[in-house]
Amino acid sequence: MSSGVAVDLENVWIKFGDFVAVREANVNINGGDFFSFLGPSGCGKTTILRAVSGFLEPSDGRVLIGGNDMAGIGPNKRPTALIFQNLALFPLMKVWENISFSMEVTGASAGERRKRADELLDMIALDGQGDKLPSELSGGQKQRVAIARALCANPDVLLLDEPLSALDLKLRQHMRTELREIQQRVGITFIYITHDQGEALTMSDNVAVMKAGVIDQIDTGHNIYDHPSTPFVASFVGENNVFRGTIKSVSGNEAIINTNRSGDLLARITPTQVGKLGVGDDAMMFIRPEALELGKAQETETTISANVVNEEFEGNSFSVFLEGDGGKQIKMSVPNLGQDNISAKGENLALHYDAANAVVMPAGELASE
């Protein structure tokens, strides 16, 4: 199997008339990585994918695959294979013909094509299904056929455009694991487009979070979740309680923010902003619902007082919805360890958190729900 090659975007701009779809994208994707572009619909992530696959040329900047500039090289000449959102299997061709279409193009004999198709069908656990038509397969099977078809030409880079979005939840979760396994087995670079943070976080080595044509952060899924660098990333990836205010004091990598409604709170400054965030700056502080705990802390800077509005049972956890001073909405998540319930309606609770689990950064645009 081919080892993965690197894909680099150097200062890529993509414009459609006056509309800027992608603004100054700089991305270095290591060979053999599973790399995701995560963002809401219309953020330009599919546009980036089309620029890598060659269906459109960047207005400015360079796309490099394996260090080679791809300018002027069409999609059929690039070492990439694209899996479409709707899979785009050929409905009138049999499954094996679908899978081996890229070999038909190069003039391989029917025998060779059939042999290779059968190998790939084995790999995706669909052996013996080669003579069916795509319409005779289930959603998950079609998915796997699309992957086999893309892998048939031994591409160096596999591009996936939200391929799981049409599947139901159970199958989607199953296919995540399977995609990751296939990627590790074939060892090539996967570039994955999704608006589903769960997919991005579970499968990827690295994730780029995009908003309105701009890449906000590129990091591992873990870092994106724990150390978001912009308010957009903090609010788009996972759930977060956001507190607005101004910086009251800074010491090292911690700061106290004077929040509008919840008093002074202590938090860690997000790594990219350490040394930059100053006293008096407009800021936002984020605390995950699962980082909040019941009980009073020693310092008042890591305690929030709130009244219980409602409690919902989620199965693996309880979600408690609270209202702080001035009507501030707060959500807390408590793991289900066999409790009957967490709180009573109207009860006043002291919520405590560890300052390491709260992150503060300059104020900015949040992801709209």
Binding site: F55, N76, K77, N86, A88, F90, S102
Partner: protein
């Protein structure tokens, strides 16, 4: 056991009153306007052309003589063939096939262009421009073409102005005007079924094939044409049937020495007042074209259901 299911479903969807009305109208149309007239023509074609007094008399019996006339002419010994009429028949069928093939070749790129540039304003304008000439009736259009193709017509003027020819070309005698007229008469019936199926093709399939390195020729051969096949066959069927059965275009644009088979049928009915003979000729044309269409559908593995799509 499938039929009753379809009917009960049909009545459930449309209600008993509306359902019966629809069924009644379709039934009336089929029986009284299609089947019965054709059956009476069939009956005519096996009878002698007798004076009114003898109709229903002892001489009014069934006969094959009308069909024999197409093959042997008036030669009662059947030793020579009716070459004139047979040649007209063969020529009509071959010319109709050529017109159909020509229309397929002309319409496919156009339908692909229209179908793939999904509903942009420019495309809608093009479609309207294609339709508007068909508001003018067929005979006027044929005469207009006759003028264009005439000795001192627009086309010859242009050709001579460009010094592409010294003498005017006799498009009428060469039957070029006839083929152009026939091709033009039914071209929309080819274009629209093709356009409809190509428009329904998922663009991603084309991009996927392109991504896998397929050339344009292969994309059309393997993806677009197989997808468009029902539309192509349905268009081809209509164009072939209507061209073979056309009367106005051959009448107006045909050269003096060349006859279209429908003109023979017309002459039997109208000039010779021999309906029995005319009916036999018409039935031969009808049956032959149906056989050709069914054979072509068989070869290209298209069934009736696909055509209705």
């Amino acid at each position: 056991m499938k039929k009753p299911m379809i009917f009960s479903q049909f009545f459930r969807n449309n209600g008993v009153i509306m359902g019966s009305a629809l069924m009644g109208l379709v039934g009336f149309w089929l029986i009284f306007l299609v089947v019965l007239p054709q059956l009476s023509m069939l009956d005519y074609s096996f009878r002698f052309n007798l004076p009114p007094a003898e109709v229903g008399g002892p001489r009014d019996v069934y006969t094959l003589s009308n069909y024999q006339h197409l093959i042997y002419g008036s030669d009662k010994t059947h030793s020579t063939y009716n070459t004139v009429d047979l040649m007209v028949f063969v020529r009509t069928i071959i010319a109709a096939i050529l017109v159909t093939v020509f229309n397929i070749l002309l319409c496919y790129p156009l339908a692909y262009f229209l179908g793939q540039s999904k509903g942009s304003g420019f495309v809608r304008l093009l479609v309207v421009l294609l339709i508007i000439p068909y508001w003018i009736n067929e005979i006027l259009r044929a005469f207009a073409l006759r003028i264009i193709f005439g000795d001192s017509g627009l086309l010859n003027e242009v050709l001579m102005f460009l010094h592409l020819t010294k003498e005017p070309i006799d498009f009428i005698r060469q039957d070029i005007a006839l083929y152009a007229g026939l091709g033009y008469a039914y071209i929309l019936l080819m274009l629209f079924p093709m356009y409809n199926v190509i428009e329904s093709l998922d663009r991603n399939q084309i991009e996927a094939a392109r991504d896998m390195g397929a050339s344009w020729a292969r994309i059309h051969r393997r993806i677009v044409i197989p997808h468009a096949k029902p539309g192509i066959v349905s268009g081809a069927t209509m164009v072939f049937m209507l061209s073979a059965g056309a009367l106005a275009a051959p009448q107006i644009l045909g050269g003096p020495s060349s006859l279209w088979f429908t003109q023979l049928v017309y002459q039997w009915f109208n000039d010779s007042l021999n309906w029995q003979q005319g009916a036999a000729y018409a039935i031969v044309l009808l049956v032959s074209t149906i056989i050709i269409v069914l054979t072509v559908m068989r070869i290209f593995k298209v069934n009736m259901g696909d055509i209705g799509k």
